[in-house]
Subunit: 348 residues, 2 copies
Amino acid sequence: MLEYEEGRTELKSLGKFALVERLTDGFDKHQSNTLCGVGDDCAVIACHDQLLTLATTNTLVEGIDFDMSYTPLRHLGYKAVAIAISNIAAMNGTPQQVMISVAISNRYSVEALEELYAGIRLCCNRYDVDLVGGDTSTTQSGMVLTATVIGQVDKHQITYRSGAKNNDLICVSGDLGSAYSGLLVLEREKINFIANPKEQPDLDSYDYVLERFLKPEPRMDIVQFLHEKDIVPTSMIDVSNGLASEMLLICQAGHCGCNIYEEKLPIDYQTTRVCSEISKNMMPVSNALNGGSDYELLFTIAQSDYDKVKESREVHIIGHITDGDAVLVTPQNTTIELRAQGFQNNDD
Amino acid sequence: MLEYEEGRTELKSLGKFALVERLTDGFDKHQSNTLCGVGDDCAVIACHDQLLTLATTNTLVEGIDFDMSYTPLRHLGYKAVAIAISNIAAMNGTPQQVMISVAISNRYSVEALEELYAGIRLCCNRYDVDLVGGDTSTTQSGMVLTATVIGQVDKHQITYRSGAKNNDLICVSGDLGSAYSGLLVLEREKINFIANPKEQPDLDSYDYVLERFLKPEPRMDIVQFLHEKDIVPTSMIDVSNGLASEMLLICQAGHCGCNIYEEKLPIDYQTTRVCSEISKNMMPVSNALNGGSDYELLFTIAQSDYDKVKESREVHIIGHITDGDAVLVTPQNTTIELRAQGFQNNDD
């Protein structure tokens, strides 16, 4: 390794996006059916006249992306597949096949792996996805789990990150910040458990936020809703790293700005409650903007589609695209520049 | 984890194939375009009338599949892609896109990762494959590298593991056992280096076997040859775990047996030389049968195709399919049952 030490640049010194950009710079395109490579939620490959193939891969690492002390293996298997499906949803597509690569230490038993696969199977059945392959390997310690999902999308329905236009409405599904609140509860109870091993963790009244973190659901119901309402969003992304970070990616890709209205952000009352419990300085809106792992869909639609979404309980209009900066508008009508200061996990 | 401890089955107690079978048991098929799932070199997905999509994923784990003390990162990147392409070759297909998921500790610098990606790029350019996505994650220690390759194959040319018929000729490309010989040399020099750190490793005269192990080439030239000669093999697999293990998989899938003739096995003189250096009891034929990582193609063809391959220097006819057992025939005309006692690495 010595030869690389001179002029060493630490991995931490680059953000994830800058790192990916640096590593993938200079790769040539060889295949005419490669329609979209690095830089969106999925790779897009021409399949036949009408259909495009989507492919995405996502890795979860023990000790970084999940903590075995509070992650049931069944939930972990479910989540690994769900996160990858969420990337297919973000292209307005339908997931069809999954390949699972699991590298695992001998600390785990066959029965533990079976629990993991029970969760994978549950998610496959829930979203009509076929397990079609993968790889099992040994590690010296810990577990690394990679899910690759393949799907399809009609070429008239595919939705990229780019494409947001001035005055488009900005929509988000579900609610924001709840998954991160679930993580905060789990971390708090872990610390309490280490301090007082005889006390049982107090998790009973946190079902919703815990499930949001441990067993997220990709919003295929929203993709279905968009198809039924004959809406093709002008841009879309899934919210894995916090709303601010994802909104900035849409603005960068679309060369536009946005006004996001703070009071329009959908925040569940349990998120608010957890914030007040954890610290009086913790603002729910900050969790919504910067907390990760919600796996909601963030998308923009033409104003002409307003009537089609206004009745939906699951789709919230939170702002609009501008030709200015990307800003949050507070209830006091001041503007704050959006920043990608998200809880930077590895799920994208 | 306590809930899983009762009746614990150790991972080591099951072979890789038995483990995969146990884990993937009970998964339903949901999608009509899934033509082949777990159990061949690639997943096969219907694309349009004429073309099928192939997908395969392969993981390499530091300390298990590669040893950083003698694996240049550029070679590692190349190898990760090459191994996955080899699975596409084994279906008689053409690789087109790759996604790379790398989980890496902060011990590595950005420059080290750039070396890895330089190798990935080299392999992509060599085989006209587009990098279309992936994931970068952190680990607490070590590196885990997963390559997912997507490709295409004409539906009249696709070759599964199953399909070998009685009297078909058994062919293998290149030579066998050389990659494992390369590994033996590297391991020997590593031990010498630990004992005598001031001495430089003696690797000069082992170029061929070292390259076979560190930088394998998928046999796309053989796929090209088959297309040019208008040969569709009746079955095919790539030799990742040793000839014996792969031949048994073809026999199991085709419900047949085979006669492999020991004296027909293609073995390079450097393989023979390394064996004699390492131990007087080490037989080159044993490396050919059980050494892994050669990534040659093993395939069966109808006897009527004999004239088309007999002149090839790169394709060797090593036996034929029978309706009996899977056996090795020695020069003394005794038969030995083939066993999957291969160097069981994680590359499949």
